[in-house]
Symmetry: C2
Subunit: 491 residues, 2 copies
């Protein structure tokens, strides 16, 4: 065994190798714009470059960085490219990156208040800040009946909400004795609701069929009248409605469900209303965009992802409940080895009771860094910039002869389709992504293949959007010409 | 709005501020040994130092670091202190910290193979490495019927295992239609099993009463005969046994359940056997400690946490299944907007189907860094060192007049109690932790208050253990003397 194995990396080595890693990262940021956005490797290509066994002897840090460049980089789809227009963004930023560095270095496990009071209190505090900053209902504040917690994802937030809804609806009988003896529980969403709600229904024991998908209107928003009718039908059939999920900014098209109308039904019927604002939620930092969440005060829970559009690296989902007691009663388990004086005093929050896992990272630190480094004004600046860029794309689409808008574009996502139909759209998307110049993804709206142009990556500027749009138009024109030539050519 | 708000942190600024953060971290590592291990702040003390609202204007990075030092540091319980002997460790290390820096910088979201092939393939590959390195069953390899995935925690791993067990036992009827129409499903564990299994039973809809706690033997290990009897009784009562969790190294005392005997019952009865080796699993890197996992080839799933004892910062739980098809069938949901050619080819893994959340970080990168930077020999060196230090503590306890061993100490955890009884133990623990010199936690074994001395923090050396033991003995002797004086004094 070599000498070095006896030791851990010293503080001096951490600084030296850290500077090497930072230099690599800075160089990555400088050139990410030129790299093919969507990775071009074939399945198995990365594994083929990796040795079949872990090394017996230690390797120098330089070897790790060299292989990051040689083996890993070609297999990266560049979410941090300014020409990443796919899915929803997963933004990172300088203050978030350095926050993660410090989180890993402090190595705190914040399952209990006592296992690092600052981890818990900063989280509670920063989520209270966000209630004010985003104009969220006062009930979500920790000094009211509610409170916020950072989850890993909107998926986990939806699951926690559904679990609390399930147990509240049965007076916590399901929590005690399970679902087997109960009337079938029913949850409601729309076909445009994020797939994580279906997954949550499976996990929580309602089953896929326990989630009722309610028809949407012409704008892909959930129809409250159909929701009310479905609830009535389920009650008549002896089932127990317990939960409805409404979305501010659906994944496919950024559709906004009518929160107020849905919330009034939920209140009247005793359903838990969860609102998913995973991507669009950040927009509420701008007062002029806050109307999208009108009616949110009727929600029992709400989440949005700072790791999507608030420059806070994955993972960071902000989740609030209006009644923390219901959530804690659902998720609390207290074994002897976690008992401690602070917990028993009742004066502190133990966030392990607000989430699925026991262990938790100090994620509040990076969110705090982002909110302070940018300032609210800095964040608003970027949100407004992205929305303006997307609106310009929407105008281009509307003015184009080749394309049409497939849905309203209330924020930073533009859904459009070529007038030549689905097969044309699929071929177009394939060619565009194969070019490496940009990355778009698709969805289906009204049963038709639809391209999504999402503007939200931190570094995306007007020139990237302009270049992408020109390429889309040029590629579509070329494809249309080929098609016309092919049709016209003798067979 | 100031000029800076128009911009993100530039690559040059990232390097400069990164060096400031690294310098702070290096200085933290140098002095962590002298800081009070358990934070001394009172509830609310951290929040009282934070402004009531988020800043409107941006703040310089130096202000963030200054407040990290001034506000946050006093509220940290130092999991990275070499005198942290509490709970199970949550180790970090240089290569893991720098891995996290790069993970945040690349900002990859690895929900699908296509969204960064390297994120998926490195994860599959490194988990195959670990199968070999830890002598795990060949069925867990990705080129067999199984495969590995990184979860955030052993809690989430247990939940995924229970969900697959639940749905497999009903031919996926529960997945489709929920639990309401089914016979009550039953899961089994011991009172020493981690609390996350009870939480998983609640989440999965079995309810707290759907988890049967099976009696343990004198060494706190689950009794297979009682398990078999409980399964028979549940079947006779019309219930459906589906899952058993066995533990290698329980949280309270590092007890090892008899995997082979439990596994044979599980096979015979068609139960899913999940094995939780969250902390102790790392020990299997040493061939001489591998006997603890004898019988693991009978398990349907297994997990251990590299973020506990393998120097890979939180969060990183390694989870394997012997039959990946069962897991994927349980957790897969495929909306249109995630469809892509690679997924449809069937040639790739999409890890979103192996976990609760959709989104996922590139955690394999830090694990790869750790395995390579230390090398297998380096990791073995530290594991052996920790075990030897704990065994020395166990010898001291056995030789002490003030204490007795409360359980066998097969690895790096020593459970002991003062001969003076529970109240004495509680006061002793309080005084020790209040000193700031070390941090121990407690449990109850055989109904009695028990101190836990865990040796597993990366930087813990013989001198830290020696000093802690001397302090424990001195404090206990002082307390005993006070007690004797108090008893002897006139009333």
């Amino acid at each position: 065994m070599s000498e070095r194995q006896s030791y851990h990396m010293t503080p001096e080595e951490l600084q030296r190798h850290g500077q090497e890693a930072l230099a690599w990262l800075a160089r990555y940021q400088e050139r990410v714009e030129e790299l093919p956005v969507l990775s071009r490797v074939e399945p198995g290509a990365i594994r083929a470059l990796l040795p079949p066994s872990a090394p017996e002897e230690p390797e120098p840090f330089a070897a790790l960085l060299a292989d990051l460049e040689r083996i890993i980089l070609p297999g990266i789809t560049h979410w941090q490219s300014p020409s990443f227009f796919a899915y929803f963004p997963a933004n990172t930023s300088g203050p978030a990156i350095l926050g993660e560095l410090l989180i890993a270095g402090l190595g705190v496990q914040g399952m209990l208040w006592a296992t690092s009071p600052a981890c818990t209190e900063l989280e509670t505090h920063v989520l209270d800040w966000l209630v004010e900053l985003l104009g969220l209902p006062a009930a979500f504040r920790s000094d009211a009946s509610g409170g916020g917690v950072i989850q890993d994802s909107a998926s986990s937030a939806a699951l926690c909400a559904l679990l609390a809804a399930r147990d509240r609806a049965t007076g916590w009988e399901t929590n005690r004795a399970g679902l087997a003896g109960q009337a079938p529980l029913v949850a409601y969403a729309s076909p445009e609701t994020h797939s994580s709600v279906e997954k949550a229904a499976v996990i929580a024991g309602l089953g896929r069929e326990g989630l009722r998908l309610i028809e949407t209107d012409a704008n892909h928003a959930l129809r409250p009248d159909r929701l009310a009718a479905a609830i009535a039908a389920d009650r008549a059939a002896g089932r127990l409605p317990c939960f409805v999920c409404a979305t501010v900014g659906t994944t496919s098209s950024n559709a906004v469900d009518p929160l107020r109308a849905i919330g009034e039904i939920a209140r009247r019927e005793g359903l838990w209303l969860h609102v998913d604002g995973a991507m669009a939620g950040t927009a509420a930092i701008c007062p002029e965009l806050r109307h999208l969440q009108d009616g949110l005060e009727l929600a029992d829970s709400y989440c949005f992802n700072p790791h999507k559009w608030m420059f806070t690296s994955l993972d960071c989902d902000a989740f609030w409940v209006a009644d923390r007691a219901a959530l804690v009663r659902t998720l609390s388990v207290l074994p002897e080895y976690l008992r401690n004086r602070a917990t028993e005093s009742g004066a502190v929050i133990d966030y392990r009771d607000w989430q699925v896992p026991l262990g938790r990272r100090f994620r509040a630190l990076k969110l705090w860094f982002v909110l302070r480094w940018y300032g609210a004004e800095g964040l608003r600046h970027h949100v407004r910039r992205h929305v303006a860029l997307a609106q310009e794309v929407a105008r281009r689409v509307a003015a184009s002869e080749l394309f049409e808008l497939a849905a309203p574009a209330p924020l930073n996502l533009v859904c459009f389709r070529p007038r030549h139909g689905d097969a044309f759209g699929e071929r177009l998307l394939e060619r565009l992504n194969a070019s490496g110049e940009l990355y778009l993804t698709h969805t289906r709206l009204d049963g038709r293949f639809t391209l999504r142009f999402m503007v939200g990556q931190s570094q995306t500027e007007a020139r990237h959007v302009e270049r992408a749009w020109q390429q889309i138009e040029a590629e579509a024109a070329a494809l249309a010409a080929e098609l016309a030539a092919g049709e016209g050519a003798p067979r």
